[in-house]
Amino acid sequence: MFNLALSNLTHRKIRTGMSVLAVAIAIALLLVLVGLSNGTLNEVSRRMESVEAEIVVRDRHFDIGSLSGGKLWEKEIPSLREIRMDSRPAVRKVIPVFIGRMKLAGLSQNVFGINPEDFPYFAGTRKILSGQLFADFDSPLQALNLDDKPFSSDDDTKSSEKNIHHSLPLVIDRRLSQASVLKVGDTAFYGGSPAHIVGIVETGVAGRVFAPINRLRGANGIAKRTAHMFFIKADPALQTDQLRHLCDKIEKSTRNSRSATLVANYGQVLADNFRNLTIFVSLVSVIALIICFLFILVTMYTMVLERGREIAILQSLGAGRSVILRQTLMEAALICSIGTVLGIALTFGARWLIETVQPLMTIEIRIHWLLLAILIGLGGGCLSALYPGYLALCHDPVETLSFE
């Protein structure tokens, strides 16, 4: 019976090919969309979790996606450092981060504005591969005053030195450097203002782009010492439960205007922030799958309609309802099996293509998603073939053989 299914499919090569392609595209679309959204979020959360701090504090209304909502103030830092647990100081260090945004390598990048002396908390064991770390001004006002002076486009050496002093120094990670083909000394633009690359750091640090916090504030026209996040380095003696308790204490001390989360749980925070994106991705995937399975249904329906005589012959040979239904399902399963395998191959191809064209994008393909895709491909295909299979059962062999 397998031979019959196979020969039926190879007999109509183009139609079978189209059906296989429909399944393949739907499966690939599902895997690429899920892989891209999860890959991007996981990559960002892994980088954030690499920060050598235990807790991240944000204003409760701050939205990382749009950088909108409430901000933090550096003047809050002393009160945070006073928090005690078991009569011991619980907070060792508060690291303010001001986040800006600029376009590099064709993608919008978050710029982490930090104090230069805090850089080791972000870099950990990762080294600056070329160039050096930036220096900062003492206050954002200094940067703002500098911004009032026009940027010179003259090409003489003196102007060039002034421009370097004028422009925002940036440290970028190697992956971004490779993607944007930027190296130390190259110029970029932060908004309309000039910026230049002063260092390249190993990939894996929390931000792809770092800038000095006061100069970044100035570049954003902010004169005050605000921040979007505080990373908190806690007392190393604190266990996870105590760190959670510390989060509660921080929130209470700020009358719940601030949200404190374990850095280890940052992935969940990101997922919550981008819940709409996840819903959108799921919706698009489901629509793609529905269209694919409708295609299978129509294909199998057409096959059954035009193969009435064959079904009647099988019935005359003694094939019962189960044999006829199994035959229809076997053909659908064959189409879906080949389509699913092709879809998985297409997914790896698409990943290679996307990561080549957009090296900063990460597509994660996990084994359990592959298994789910196989299950959806085969299960959905067979479900789609049930109605055509039922129609095949309703064939009257006598009528068909008499009038064909």
């Binding site: 031979n3 009647a312 012959i313 099988l314 005359s316 003694g318 044999v323 053989l401």
Partner: protein, 222 residues
């Protein structure tokens, strides 16, 4: 009863299409002995094919009894009828009804797979019986019509059925091919002792049978 392969009692068939009723068979009483070669003749529309489809368990009678090897088949569930059809009966059609996407060997193999047999030996024997061993890998469109009918016969006899039902098996063939096919039926009947029930319009073909039954207007004559 035990000597009869097929026996019908007061067999009637009426086709219903909404309010329209078309009676086709009236009170058919028929007995066919095991190993008999019977031809049924009659004008078009007299009910020959309907009778064959009922005896071949592809249609249910409207009333009356149909016994196959002593078993009343009229009230059997479709699944049981399919099993009986699969194990006891082989069909040969006027238009051969081979599966066009499969080769000769695979056409017979499909029938054997439906019967859940391990088919190799039986298929080769059946192909040899119809002298088509050398055409086993040919697809139907690569065979002449006479060869296609031989493959159809090989498919019908591969499982050594109790009954072969042939619906105008020479109707699409020229006289030379028709003669070959009838010779083949006689050989199978003689060598294997299989009961053959054949519908035909051809007097020549009917003369190969042990007995000829004439039908007219849904009734058996004489």
């Amino acid at each position: 009863m035990n000597d009869f392969l097929i026996k019908t009692e007061k067999l009637c068939k009426t086709f219903r299409n909404g309010r329209l009723e078309t009676p086709v068979l009236f009170d058919i009483d028929l007995e066919i002995i095991k190993g008999e070669f019977v031809a049924i003749m009659g004008p078009s529309g007299c009910g020959k094919s309907t009778l064959m489809h009922i005896l071949g368990l592809m249609l249910s009678p409207s009333s009356g009894r149909v016994y196959l090897e002593g078993q009343d088949t009229a009230l059997l569930h479709e699944k049981k009828r399919a099993c009986l059809r699969r194990d006891k009966i082989g069909f040969v059609f006027q238009r051969f009804n081979l599966l066009p996407t499969l080769n000769a060997y695979q056409n017979i193999a499909v029938a054997e797979q439906i019967r859940r047999n391990q088919p190799d030996g039986q298929i080769n024997r059946a192909l040899a019986a119809v002298e088509m061993t050398d055409r086993a890998q040919y697809k139907p469109h690569q065979l002449s019509i006479g060869q296609q009918q031989r493959i159809a016969i090989a498919r019908a006899i591969s499982h050594q059925p109790a009954l072969i039902m042939a619906d105008e098996p020479t109707g699409n063939l020229d006289s030379a091919h028709a003669q070959h096919i009838m010779d083949l039926f006689r050989t199978i009947h003689r060598q294997h002792g299989i009961t053959i029930l054949m519908i035909t319009h051809s007097q020549t073909a009917a003369r190969s049978a042990d007995r000829i039954i004439y039908m007219n207007d849904g009734k058996i004559q004489g």
